[in-house]
Amino acid sequence: MNKSHLLGAVTFGLGLLAAAGSASALTLGFSQVGSEGDWRPAFSADMKAEAKKRGIDLKFSDAQGKEENQLKAVRSFIAQGVDAIIIAPVVTTGWDAVLKEAKEAKIPVFLADRDVESDKDLYVTRISADFNLEGRLAGAWLAAAAKGKCNVVELQGTVGSAPAIERKKGFEAVIKEFPDIKIVKSQSGDFTTAGGKEVTESFIKATDGFKDVCAVYAHNDNMQLGAIQAMKEAGLKPGKDYLMVSVDGVPDMFKAIKAGDANASVELRSDIGKDIYNVVEAYLKGKHDFPKWVKIASDLHTADDVDAVMAKRGIK
């Protein structure tokens, strides 16, 4: 065995064994960022489950958050001559060389989730959710629920991060159509429960007990869960006297919606395997006119469909 392929062979030994079983099926390489947080492991699991369902031979590689692992994995995919490569990039830069190698080997590359800074010709398309859309969905729901009149307090994500910027922009783009909807307080809760709780506590004091406030919009569910705790501890009734809308759709948020403590959450879906494979399979069958960004639709869940969602996701 060639020495340079040794590592790849070890890493993908299991994949090769599986490949022997279904030699004629589609073979795809997927290089994942890692397994941090709640969302990403769920995403990985869905990619694997969906591949199995479709009879795709998926070679999965976890880069453990390291760029060099990812580059190694992609090169080994090229060496193995897979039909297509899916990358969820660790970083946005430094991709030109390896993407060119893939192009020379005539293997199409698809990006999942994050973007890269490189020549747009080097990959087919990026398939991911749209943070801006999530913000707009939350804004639209709030505008309807508040009947176009509301003072909102906003819990921003980490200052300068892409989701925080886009979810704020999208939300503001919608509510600016409604002159009586205003953001009266806005601070960063760093995407954490503790941060959301502390910021909400100070907002409650600064607005004299949420006087004239009608809604809390949080850039993620964790901060919103903190806000719910802070409001309850101050004797307020989130979900009843105040509209609570946030983004992510984590299990605890669905539980909160079911309990009536929150009203709506835009789900950042992790079951996007089928969206990605649909694009890849269509491309391999000859459809080449994809835009450079295939947006995955986000869903907003409320008390109306929370039972169904929880049942589907297996949340108890």
């Binding site: 709640d38 300068g160 954490t192 429960t193 941060g195 100070s202 907002f203 600064a206 101050a234």
Partner: protein, 345 residues
């Protein structure tokens, strides 16, 4: 004539030497006064949901975890050490606490388990420093970096949430109308004060921190003293972890107690502690914590865009530290005097 002058000089010198706590207190007062201008109801305190409610209460309440950590840090810094791993210890002990709560154990066992995690971490750091002679910054950096990984492993890569009557009482509950966690701070302050001032431990730590070699030649077991100091800060961090984790009822391995080592070190320095070791000031360290927390709360209340949070905090802290520096004060006084002199002439 000369007699009078001498007396004046003497009085001035005494004034300058006397209260080390004056500048931190002045800084705290100024921040609070600005708060009242921003939000007139800042000082109002009511009882809501059976608990004291108001911005001042928030400062004390939110200041609890940093206060617990900073008191331990004051002792380690007194021994001419430093502990950068306290934030990670918060995460690890929080993770242990969440795991034990899910194991349906009795609160007493969970408390011991959580504090035990902190103690083990502290003794690990202490061993690296006192026995292996590794520089404190490097020694504790190891756990600072690896600790969150360990916490993540204990949490199984997720953010486990839980309900526990006991720990919610400790963190967010109240006794009569006073938040329980304030009693916790008072209790730890009392215990540490007794340990430092009613046993010889304080004298030993200060001796080791001020001059290790002389302390050893005076018969002090310098290793044991150093080891104990790190053990104490470890347990303080574990207590903070208990409060932080109980507060949100979730153990966040990545973000729990993030940057708390910096706030703790800053509080000790604001309180007059020297990074070169020596005197331990628990009381003024707590004032340092209050300055930092009052500042944080003020920024959150002020309506300032969050992009400016860190900058404003840094500037205010810089001003307070400059006020504390004798050199700076002399320079400013001199400037003031020459200015006045020029105006007269």
């Amino acid at each position: 004539m000369s007699d009078i002058n001498l007396k004046k000089v003497g009085a001035a010198a005494e004034k300058r030497a006397l209260p080390a706590a004056v500048w931190p207190l002045v800084a705290l007062a100024v921040i609070l006064i600005i708060d009242v201008i921003i939000s007139p109801s800042f000082f109002s305190i009511r009882v809501v949901e059976g608990r004291l409610y108001g911005s001042l209460v928030d400062i004390l309440y939110r200041g609890t975890p940093p206060a617990l950590i900073a008191m331990g840090m004051a002792i380690v810094i007194g021994s001419r050490g430093i502990d950068l791993s306290v934030g990670s210890v918060v995460a690890m002990s929080g993770a242990v606490m969440a795991a034990l709560i899910h194991g349906d154990l009795s609160p007493v066992i969970i408390v011991f388990g959580t504090l035990g995690m902190g103690l083990i971490c502290g003794l690990w750091n202490g061993t690296l420093v006192a026995v292996l002679g590794i520089q404190p910054i490097i020694a504790t950096l190891i756990l600072m970096v690896s600790g969150r990984g360990i916490a993540l492993m204990i949490n199984g890569g997720r953010i486990p949430t839980f309900r526990s009557e006991f720990f919610e009482f400790v963190s967010t509950g109240s006794i009569w109308v006073i938040p329980t966690r304030l009693f916790l701070v008072a209790f730890v302050l009392l215990v540490l004060w007794l340990l430092l001032r009613k046993t010889a431990f304080g004298l030993f730590v200060e001796s080791v921190g001020s001059n290790t070699q002389a302390a050893r030649l005076s018969g002090i077991g310098t290793r044991v003293v150093t080891l104990s100091a790190y053990g104490i800060v470890g347990m303080c961090a574990a207590l903070a972890g208990m409060v932080i984790t109980g507060d949100t009822r979730s153990s966040d391995a990545v973000y729990a107690g993030v940057d708390s080592e910096l706030d703790a070190i800053l509080a000790v320095v604001l309180g007059g502690g020297s990074l070169n070791g020596g005197r331990i000031y628990l009381g003024t360290t707590l004032i340092g914590v209050l300055i930092i927390q009052a500042l944080t709360t003020s920024i959150l209340m002020s309506g300032l865009p969050p992009e400016y949070n860190k900058l404003v905090k840094a500037i205010v802290i810089l001003v307070v530290l400059l006020l504390q520096a004798p050199k700076f004060r002399t320079a400013v006084t001199a400037l003031f005097r020459t200015g006045k002199g020029k105006a007269k002439s």
